[in-house]
């Protein structure tokens, strides 16, 4: 629906009749003397048709002049069509580049299937193009809790366009909160500003956002491999557990293909119910397998291919060498004897030594051995042996590590670090502790489980019960209470806790990094003692060097696939290597159903109400003015066409004849 922003200019139409009248009245002719009019009379006299209308009929110049005037008037009345765009003087474009935006259910610029991100980028570019010239544009690319400010309040549309063009899809989730918060902060300083979020709506909106959502995405057809794990079975073989999920609203049939060490191993057809999942166990995988890859055969019914493939690194269970220094602890020894590698994936070779028999140099045989742990049960040696340690109810302080400051009774347990590996798969609720040491550790230790001295007063100062951390290149875990003073050893959690402790303290080469991680997950690794440098080999073959250092953070891994971390020992020996997989297991991102009706009404909604902004228009006067200019040129050419044609033939002569 076209509107005219300044319709008064239509009054200029009154200029057209005078132009025609002037033509009719025939302007005074210029006098020109010639030798004789004889020839002109003979040959050109019929040009002079005397009827005025006859003259008008053939007058190209008049036609062009009237057309020119019409176009000029049309440009002056500023015709405009309402657009989807924005009209504000300042606009913040938040472009979602999360994984779900890579779904190819949109239409690209040439009509081919295109990703949602491509469509969002195109829409953003159109908005920037249609903005008023003085508008300021801020472009924020957002995903996974990151907000990249690509341009800040620029008035140069080319800069904004190139920023928009540079946005690439990521494997991150749709956490747009920081980006929206940033956008709100920018908008708060500017009057007449607007936030436009270009997303598929698969996001969790922050409370009270004033953003306007432009939604992308059409389909929800997506199936994914949502879980992949491997575990040993009785006869030494491995069993692969695959869960395939259908996030779409229609049932789908997909073929699951499993490859072991790059060779096809099994293929299963799966019937996936709508919004449901199917589990499949692939058995008899050889124990010597190193990598397993499971994928769904590509299909047209799946618009997001990233989650159709998952990889797994099979890490052999190597027994940890555990030296238990104790005067006898049945619970501990029983729990360690249960760790045979089959049930919880941890195996130990236990040596029990009485504290009196512990030689100072006994454990020093291989200080950099990743698979040896000392457990000191209710005892602390004069000098701590090298390697990783577990201290259970230490009777006295150790300088530089911790101090014993007292003892309390009946603390109430609470897990304060539920995501710590030590408390994986463990419930400590209702565990009773009769008495425990009060340990005050240095800043190296993280407190995993605390106890409140008085259960009636939960806000009293908690004391640490389970601590773990790294100091001087080794890992130390401290359990503050005596196992005999608690019912913990009688609970199912205890063997699992022991397995977690052994896995934490004797990680082996694979302990440096988990076997499976999610893309974009920040990951701190500690290189094993004696390893100065490591090389990270990407799935595409790229290599990155990693220097040793406490809490070394890996770069954000944005490629899916198998990575290899190679340790370089200082003496140029071929080092150990550990492989791990980056898999896209994100049910929120895999559920790609677009949500156009995302409710973003909040506290700021009223302040930037739609009515406060002028309606957005796309103006056409530039095009019309350009057309008028072209007409003007054409008119001049027609008026001087004899000159123009002569000039053109001269040019042709120069080009063709001379050359």
């Amino acid at each position: 629906m076209m509107t005219f922003l300044s319709p008064l200019a239509f009054a200029l139409l009154a200029l057209i009749p005078p132009i025609i009248a002037l033509y009719l009245l025939k302007l005074r002719r210029q006098d020109y003397e010639v030798s004789s009019v004889y020839l002109w009379q003979r040959f050109v006299r019929d040009v002079e048709a005397n009827a005025p209308w006859q003259r008008l009929r053939r007058n190209l110049l008049l036609l062009l002049q009237v057309l020119f005037l019409l176009l000029l008037i049309l440009a002056l009345v500023r015709p405009a069509t309402p657009t989807e765009g924005v009209a504000g003087q300042s606009v913040v474009l938040v472009i979602d580049r999360s994984a779900s935006m890579a779904a190819t259910d949109e239409v690209g610029p040439l009509g081919q299937p295109g990703s949602r991100l491509e469509a969002a980028k195109q829409a953003a570019a159109e908005m920037v193009t249609n903005l008023p010239e003085t508008a300021r544009v801020t472009v924020i690319a957002a995903a996974g809790g990151q907000a990249d400010l690509l341009t800040s309040a620029t008035q140069d549309p080319r800069q904004a366009l190139s920023a928009i063009d540079s946005i690439q899809p990521t494997l991150l989730n749709s956490d747009l909160d920081p980006a929206l918060t940033l956008a709100e902060a920018i908008v708060a300083r500017e009057p007449n500003a607007e936030i436009i979020m270009l997303s598929d709506g698969a996001i969790t909106p922050p409370p009270g956002s004033s953003a306007r959502l432009v939604s992308f995405g059409k389909l929800d057809a997506n199936q994914a491999i949502s879980t992949l794990s491997i575990s040993p079975v009785a006869d030494g073989q491995l069993a692969l557990f695959v869960q395939a999920s259908n996030y779409g609203s229609a049932a789908a049939q997909r073929r699951l293909i499993v490859e072991v060490d790059g060779a096809p191993f099994a293929a299963v057809d799966l019937d996936l119910p709508p919004a449901g999942h199917v589990e499949q166990v692939i058995e008899a995988i050889p124990p010597e397998a190193e990598t397993v890859e499971a994928y769904l055969q590509p299909s047209d019914e799946d618009v997001l291919p990233w989650d159709d493939r998952a990889r797994l690194v099979v890490r052999p269970v190597e027994p940890a060498r555990v030296t238990v220094v104790t005067n006898g602890n049945f619970f501990l020894q029983t729990a360690l004897s249960l760790l045979d590698g089959r049930r919880v994936g941890v195996a130990v070779e236990t040596t029990t030594v009485a504290p009196a028999n512990l030689l100072p140099d006994q454990a020093a045989t291989s200080p950099d051995d990743l698979k040896s742990v000392h457990i000191f049960d209710r005892t602390v040696p004069e000098t701590l042996p090298p390697g990783n340690l577990l201290l259970i109810a230490p009777p006295q302080s150790v300088a530089g590590l911790f101090d014993i400051t007292g003892q309390i009774d009946n603390p109430a347990l609470e897990v304060v670090q539920p995501d710590h590996p030590l408390v994986d798969n463990i419930s400590l609720a209702d565990t009773q502790i009769l008495a425990t040491q009060v340990i005050s550790a240095g800043s190296w230790a993280r407190t995993v489980v605390v106890g409140y001295p008085d259960p009636a007063q939960p806000d009293s100062r908690p004391i640490p019960l389970l601590l773990a951390g790294e100091i001087d290149g080794r890992r130390i875990a401290i359990l503050a209470f005596d196992l005999h003073q608690s019912d913990l050893p009688l609970r199912p959690a205890f063997p699992i806790l022991m397995a977690n402790l052994i896995r934490y303290l004797a990680p082996g080469a694979g302990g440096v990094i988990p076997a499976q991680i999610a893309p974009g997950q920040p990951l701190a690794i500690t290189l094993p003692a004696g390893v100065a440098r490591a090389r990270l080999i990407y799935p595409n073959g790229a290599v990155q060097a990693i220097e040793a250092g406490a809490g070394q953070t890996l770069p954000v891994l944005s490629q899916l696939g198998l990575y290899t971390l190679e340790f370089e020992p200082p003496d140029n020996q071929p080092g150990d290597q550990v492989r791990f997989a980056v898999n896209f297991f994100d049910p929120v991102e895999s559920a790609i159903m677009p949500q156009p009706d995302l409710a973003l009404t909040g506290r700021n909604r009223e302040q930037t109400a739609q009515a406060a902004l002028p309606p957005a228009y796309r103006e056409w006067w530039r095009l019309l003015a350009a057309g008028a200019l072209l007409l003007l040129v054409a008119e001049w050419l027609v008026y001087r066409r004899s000159v123009a044609i002569r000039w053109w033939s001269g040019l042709k002569y120069r080009i063709f004849v001379r050359s």
Partner: protein, 324 residues
């Protein structure tokens, strides 16, 4: 369309004295006028005459009649046949070259450019041709034609008279309106010794209403005058002069054209189409003239005045058999 305004009587500036250097004159002397017919002249010359005379070239015998000069009797023939025969020789006499120059106002064009001025060009060409004739022991007579026959130069003969001829040409002025018909008819009537006749004119003669160009029988307005000349057995050559701006006009816009000669006006819108139509019409007109002339054994030489007149003399007129 006819304009009652009196023809412009102000004479144009004189045509200017033709200046030929001696090298050019020597080149001219190498040329001769071609005549297609032998005719009688007044004086001894270099052209074959119809008369029998005293040259060394044998022509014929004839019977002796009393009163004939004994010196012409061929005694050898008498010795063989015992009859008197007279031996006749070809007489060689001069001819008269007639140069007619149109001095209407339209010939003084373009007024501001001496190099392409039609009258000056005609004067130069006439001077060159006159010199060729004088050098060939022929007589030369010049006449100017405007509304009627206006000036005539008495016949000149002999190279020493060339300067008198040049002076006459230098003093030519364009004054009147064109009426070739009248001028040519008068000249045909009063000329005593017909011969080669060259007419220098732009042929822009608007005295009679121009005939319809669609008419199948094209008839130029000066046809009667030419026919009168042909009846006197003149050998006519038209040198049709057009200035460059007449051959290729560069007008544009809405114009009222003023005729420099008659004061008539024509209103035109000069644009690409009308100029193209003008040129097409001009080409058709020249083609008609050429056809009309060819049908009457008249040599028609169209020339624009930006062509050097040496080219006219040494190339065009030789190609068309006027000079050799």
């Amino acid at each position: 369309m006819t304009n009652p305004q009196a023809p412009d009587s102000n004479p144009s500036p004189p045509a200017g004295s033709p200046r030929f250097d001696s090298a050019f004159l020597r080149r001219l002397e190498a040329l001769t006028l071609i005549t297609r017919q032998a005719r009688s002249g007044q004086w001894q010359g270099e052209r074959r005459s119809l008369k029998r005379g005293q040259s060394v070239e044998f022509a014929d015998y004839r019977n002796y009649v009393p009163g004939d000069d004994f010196r012409l009797v061929d005694w050898n023939a008498y010795a063989r046949l015992e009859r008197f025969f007279l031996k006749l020789f070809v007489e060689e006499e001069e001819q008269t070259l007639h140069l007619l120059i149109d001095t209407s106002r339209s010939m003084a064009w373009p007024p501001d450019n001496e190099a392409t001025n039609k009258l000056a060009y005609a004067a130069h060409a006439a001077a060159a041709l006159g010199y060729i004739a004088l050098a060939g022991l022929d007589r030369v007579t010049i006449a100017t034609v405007d509304a009627a026959l206006s000036q005539t130069l008495r016949p000149h003969r002999g190279r020493q008279q060339a300067f008198s001829l040049f002076d006459f040409l230098a003093g030519l002025q364009a004054t009147g309106r064109t009426n070739l018909n009248e001028g040519l008819t008068q000249y045909a009537r009063q000329s005593r010794q017909p011969g080669p006749l060259l007419i220098f004119s732009d042929l822009l003669d608007s005295t009679l209403p121009p005939p319809n160009p669609q008419s199948p029988s094209f008839q130029p307005p000066w046809a009667n005058g030419v026919l009168a000349l042909l009846a006197r057995r003149f050998e006519i050559t038209f040198i049709h002069l057009l200035s460059p701006d007449e051959a290729n006009p560069t007008l544009s816009g809405d114009l009222r054209l003023l005729d420099a000669e008659t004061g008539q006006t024509v209103e035109i819108t000069a644009d690409y189409e009308s100029l193209a139509r003008y040129q097409a019409g001009l080409a058709a007109w020249q083609a008609e003239l050429r056809t009309w002339c060819a049908q009457r054994s008249i040599i028609y030489v169209p020339v624009t005045t930006d062509v050097p007149f040496e080219t006219l003399i040494f190339t065009f007129l030789r190609q068309r058999g006027v000079l050799a």
